[in-house]
Each structure stands twice: as C-alpha cells, then as structure tokens.
Amino acid sequence: MLIPLSWLKDFVDIKLPVGELAKKLSSAGLTVEKWSKDGDDFIFDTEVTPNRPDWLSVRGVAREISAITNAKFLIPNVKLKLPIKNDGKIKFKIDYELCPGFTALVINNVTVKPSSELVKERLKKVGLRPINNLVDVTNYVMWETGNPLHVFNLDSIRGGQMMLTSAKGGEQFRSLDGLDYALPAGAIIIKDLGRVIDLCGIKGGENSAVNAATKNVLLVVPIYNSTAVRKASQTLGLRSDASTIFERGADPGNTINTLLKAAEMIGGKPQEIIDLKEKEFEPWEVPASHEKIERVLGITIEPKKVVKILESLELKVSGNYKVIIPTFRNDIHIEEDLIEEVGRIIGYDNFPKTLPTAPTPTAKVAYAKDYDFEYEVKNILKGAGYSEIYTYSLVSEAQLQKLGLTGTKLLNPISKDFEYLRPSILGNLLEAIKLNQANFSDIKLFELGKQYGEKEEYWLSTIVNGEKFYEVKGVVESLLKQLGIDFKIEPDISNSLFHPGRSAVILAKSRTLGYFGEINPSLLTKFGVKGRVTGFTLDYDLLETLANKSRKYQPIPIYPPIIEDLTITISEKILVGEIMEKIKSVNKLIADVRLISTHERSFTFRITYQDKNKNLTDKDVEPIRKKIASLTPRGH
C-alpha cells in the first residue's frame, strides 16, 4: 500500500530520516518494501500482513509511527456535528449477519465538481485517479481512515428501499465501471425495487452511481462480514481496495467519524445520521501477566515500560494488566498477542540471543527419517559416476502418454506442462537424457524422489545412455551389497517401462524391491532418445527398511583354500546365474564361484573351496567336484 509521508504528517510529528523510519516500521512488523521521492514528498510502499487491517490506512500507519518513535498522535477534530436518527425516509432491510453495521447519511444539494488540489494530488500519489469530488472523497477518506465508504445517487434508488441480502447466484450486475458480472451465491448485495444496486464491499453498481448531474446522495460507511466479502471477491477474481480492507475487518468503532469527515468534505445539506446495527461494538478486555511477558520474551522489563508501550498503541491499561482493546485492533484477543506487541515495539534486534538450556530430548520423534542413510545411498551412486538431479513432481499428460501410464490429476494445474503428479521418475530421467545427449556421450543420472500412485512413495531411479545391462546390474548389485541387503534377480517382463527381453526384477525378502535393465526401445523413440538406455529403479522406502547396517567381523581364514577352474557347457536358455547358485549350494566348503571366461555356451567357473578349520586335501574336494560335474551332463 502506498502512503505519502506528507499525509502521515497530518497526524504525527516525524523527525526521523525516511530510511530510518522505514527500517523501524519494518522491524515492528509493517514491512516497507521500498520508498521513493516524489517532489519534496516521499512515498512508502508497504506490505501489510493479513492480521492488520488498521495498517491499510494513513492514520493506522501514523499511529504505529507515534508508538515506535515516541511522537504524539493526533486526529484533528471534525467540526461537522449531526444528530443520529433513522428518519425512515429510506426503508432499510439489513441482514446483520452479513452487515453488522451500516452507517449512512443523506446529503442533499451536492455540487459535483473536481476535488481540491490537495485531494487530487494525494490521490495521485497513492495511485488513484481523481474523478469528481464525490467519488474522490470516498477514496480519500477510506485511504485516510481505513473505513471503506460508498456513495449512491439517492435519486436513482427505486422505491425508496434498500435491502441488504446475499445473492442467490447468477444475478446479473453491471459495476460502475461498466463491466458485467454474474454474481456468485453468497455475495453481499443491496437491492432496491427489483434491481441489484451494489456488490457490497467490492464494487458499486452502475445503476446507482453518482454522475455529473447528481444532486442528492446517500453516503454509507458499512461493516461487512469478512468471509462473505472474501469468498465473493475470490470467486469473481475481483479485488478492490475496499474488499482488501473488508476481508481483514474494517473498524466498526469508527464509522460515524469516517462518515462525518467525508460529509464535511462533500458539503451540501447533510441530513441526520442513520446508524443501523444489531448491537454496539464494544472494546474488549485481554488480561496479561507481567511474569508471562518476561518469561515468553526472555527479557526483563519494567512494568511501567510495558504500560507505556501498550498505551502508545492506544490500548488502555489498568492494573497488572487488564488491557482494553480498541475496535481497530481485531488481531488482539489473547495474552500472546499482547506479548507480541511489547516484543515488536522493543524490536527483536534489541533482544539478547540465547540458546535453549533444557536437556536434549532423546525420545524418537514420530515420522522420523534417516537422512544419513539417504546421504550414504546418494554417495554410493556418486562414487559410481552418477550425477543427481531434482525434477518436478508435476508432469504433463504428454509424458504420461509416452510412458503409457496414468497419473493423479490436479484440479487446478497452472499449465498443460504440469498437470499430473508423476507415477514414475523415469519419464523425467528420459527427458534428462534427451536434454544431455547433444553435449555428452556418457550420461549417468539419478533421482531420489517421490512417485505418486495410490499413495506417495520414495523411489530411487537411475539412467545411463548406452547398452550397459551388465554395468547397471553391477551398480545396483554393488549398491545393495554395500547396504547389506540380500536379494535375488529374476527375469521379468511385467514392467512395461523396461525392455521385455533385457530386464529383471530384484526381489528381497520375497518382495519386489525394484527393476533394472534396458529401457523399452518403444519408449525411447517416443521420448526422442537416441541409442539404447539402461537404468534401474528401486522402491526406496523398502530399501531403507531392508538395509542392514550391522556388521560382524569374520576372522581371516588361516588355512589356504583350494582354487580350481571348471568348464561347463550349458544349453541355450538355461540361466547361468541359476547354475552358479546350484554349484554354490552343493557344499558348504564352496566359498566362492566366479565366472572367469565364456566361449559360446561353454562357461569356465573358478571355484574356491575353503575350510576355516583345517587344510583341505584333494580327498576332501574330490566328492564335491564330482557332484558339481553331475549337475550338468557335460561337466568336466
């Protein structure tokens, strides 16, 4: 919000240099984003937090300045005095749920003309366009007091009646700037005889707007239900300076003063004030204890300083402490709110800095996650030459189609590129390969992130370019072994993302831990990836569960092993891995079976026999050797 320094000076003495004042305001919670010179004036551009409607006004900011600079805050008296009386000339019917307060005034014989130079200049400084004295006064007084006003052309109100109610939905409404809206249900509206004449708190209607020929007006200072204004404003995508204030809550205790200030500026013949409300708007009391203020802030402070701070904010303090909260501070309802007032006026930069002295809690927190393990896993992949990427969880429908998968769709995506929660990380990895293939011949990438199906799960996925089945198998096996996970690898055709003849499933504790292999060539074409691509994908949550970090030292064998090579011919389609498993399970003395060379379907295995308790002799090995040979008919 734009606030000119000169306007503030109507209410408070300002001696501080502008930069310093801006810094102090920011420190107290009213952020001054920037300030700029405008002739011999300065304009502050403030960002107001949603709890402070009072700061959406020149007077509210002036009040804050008086508190933080110890300067006097004074609102000049309005000279105009008018009696309060509902004269019944207009028949009002108000829904007080929607409008707890409705202060209005008929002014006859107004003269529509340009505003004074001061008003025009100030409106321009805050980014508003001067129109005529009537419209300008409502804007000017709203900016100054924080109470939005509206002015109706009294003679255009049909039937002498105004009914304030909520829209049923679908009513047509043309705003005073000539735009047509279909009103959302629940929006606060005023109807005269058969017409909607005001979209309350947001925009006035064209049919009741003042114009150059207006003679008599109805000036209103309403208090509207914040939620109703906010909802209508959101549904319509239509915000105004007034709606911004109403959403946060306009000051119900200041409607008459606001009305008088505006009436005084408009001139003409004001009638009697109509002040409609169901009940009075009373200030409320919030107690606070000095002990708690000191305990929560962690500082010692004189009680009289506390009183001084609260009173500088126009809160009334009695005893230790009963604090009366004025109607313009609807953000203060509990003791903590008062503690904040004391803290922020002192300024947190002036606080000592301490660390909690309580002993460190040792009970494990709920939802705990082992990020050291994650870091270890990532470092293993880094050591294997892989680079880590972070990609968006939101992906396009086009990517899902290429993958042949379905995803969870957002109800309100920002664009076609980011419409779905990804069901697989592999899509983004393939896009990453495509991005890099022009610049790099050797691409190795991984991402550890969430995939979203029935529930959200962490998956660890990698991708490398090239025909590198056994290299990738080595990386995944090495990773699992370093993590202490027992696993089994079996041929697999169930995962459509992978090449049906060149992929495998990784099983651990008879659960599916993941898949690896070449990516299905049909995907590569769709993603525009050249050559072959290999990768693996692991259920990371399961990986973390299965990882076994405990290690037990095994003494180095003292007796030498017997090592011998054995060549076996294995017929087509018999899985070599299974043969090796079979060899290994022949006898406990077989410590290791390793494939050392291959010629067509002849495989030479190096077999290590080892007994940790004695020297092995050929006699010991002979029967085992025979048994291995008997596993395949042509073993030798």
Partner: protein
Amino acid sequence: MQEKLINIKNEALAQIINARDSQELEKLRIVYLGRSAGKLTSIIRGLPKLSDAEKSVIGRFANEVKKIIEDSLASQELLLRDQKSQNITETEWLDVTLPAIYPPVGHLHALTKVTHDVLNIFKSLGYQVADGYEIESDYYNFTALNMPPDAPSRDTQATFYVGEKILRTQLSGMQVRIMEKTPPPMRVVIPGKVYRVDDVDASHSFEFWQLEGLLIDKNIKMTDLLGTMEYVLKKLYGEKIKVRFDATYFAFVEPGVQAFISCTICKQKGCSFCKGTGWVEIMPAGMVHPNVIKAGGLDPKKWGGFAFCIGLSRAAVLKYQIDDLRILTNPDLRILKQF
C-alpha cells in the same frame, strides 16, 4: 688349500663388483656357489677328504668365504637396483602433462548438499529429522495451524487441489502431526518439497524445497528462538554475515518474526536478488501459537516452543550464487558437474 680359497674369493669379488646386471650376478652365483659345479661348492664338497685338523680350519674358512661372496652378491644386487632406479628417469620417462584417466566422477545436487549442511547444524543442536506427506489434508496444512477455512492468511498460499486433498503449501502441518504422536519435549526438523500455485520465473516456482523446525519444551523464550536462528544462519553462511529480525505475522505463531541476512550475492551493495535492499528474507519463525499446541494435543499452559522455516531452494541459491531458481530443477550435466 687356503690360498686357493683366497684366490677364489678375490676373483669372485672382483667379478661381482664388475657385474652390470642381475643376470650376470646370477651367473656368478652359479659359477662360485652353484649346487653342482660351483667353484666354492666343489671345495666344500672335498672337505671330508681332508685330515681332521685341516677339515676344521679349512672348513671354517670356506664357510667364511661363502658368506663373503653371498654378501657381496647381495650388496651388488642392491647397488645395481639403485643405479637402475636412477636410470629410469631416462628409460621410463612419461609425459606427466598428458590428460589423466579419471575414476567415475558423479555429483550430488546442490540441494542435497545444502540440506545435508543444514541437517548437520540442527543435529548438533539436538534436533531429530522427520519426513511428511506431500499430499496433505486441508486440516493439517491450514486448519490445525490456526488458519480456519475463512482465514485471509490462506490467500498468501495459493493451493493445488488433488481430489479431496491438497498439495502441501508449507511443511508446518508436520508440527501438529509430530506433536500428536511424540511425547514432549521434542526437537525436530523436517525437510521437504512444498507446492504453491505460482508461475515459474527466476525467483518463483510452483515446487520448492523448505525445512521446517519445531522445538517444544517448558519455559522456552523468544530469545532462545532468536539465538537459535542467529546460530544456524551464521553456521550456514559464515560468521561474517549480518542477521536482522523483523516482527511479522503468521497465523500459527505468536509472536512472529522474520530473519534477514545480509545479501551474500552483492555484499549489501544492492542487487536484483535482494531487490536492492542489501537484505535477504531467509527464515520466518515464531513462538508456536497456543491453538497449534492444542491442535497437537498438548496443554499450552504447560508446553511451549518455537517453530521456524528455512527455504532450502533459496539457501542453495544463496550458497552457490545461482541467479535463477530454475537452475535447481534443470538436469543439464553442464550445471550438475559444477557441484
């Protein structure tokens, strides 16, 4: 006989000293000490034929000679090896400036590094680490955090909807979830991804990473929060940075505070990243609102504490002087290799 031995010794030593390589030395060893026809071996083998008196004298001397020849062979071998190693400067020269053959080199992402750094700082302060759901209920993301359905403060966090649920706009919902299930006191940080409906540009994104922190204990003070924030920020960005605190408002804390650090990119000279102010908004925080403590199932009269948030994306950007948030989600290896 003794004379013969002396001659053999002298002859052997002379030849050994002149030997130029190991093969020559091995030949000499065979000539003198060879098992079948070595000159010295023959003599030793002839010993039994000698008289007993000669046997002991010659025998001992022959063994001495044998030892001298052996030692001489060994020392010459060493000498030759030494000479050879001097020569390899010439004979085995390599061009050390030719390009190296690298082991596989991978790279952790900037965000992983920053997250790791931040977590280590908090672990040193006794915080544990937790993880939450990205697809969250409106209740935990807003209502439980003192942001009822009509709260205007919700408008500052434009939300993506997924069926009945939402994509979390902040990690603060985990404050309540963790309080519900953890016996107090507790200290916990939660890193993770959050979502807001926002257009993508150099400083905005619809997905970004944050770290939420919560401390619940008895008699926790505002000064503890300020001290914790200052400690963490200085650990992360260096002792030299300046830290500033402004009062601010978040529905789920009271009082609320925002920490700023002096801009690490322009050193407070003013740049586009700090919008010319020299200060960067870095860590919103506050004392946990009594309503939030209640939502977590604890008694606000007994328990209190503070909560804070660090923008991890922003922390990475500041730490590595990255001028565009989109760099963090770009999988171009030319970027990844820099970290």
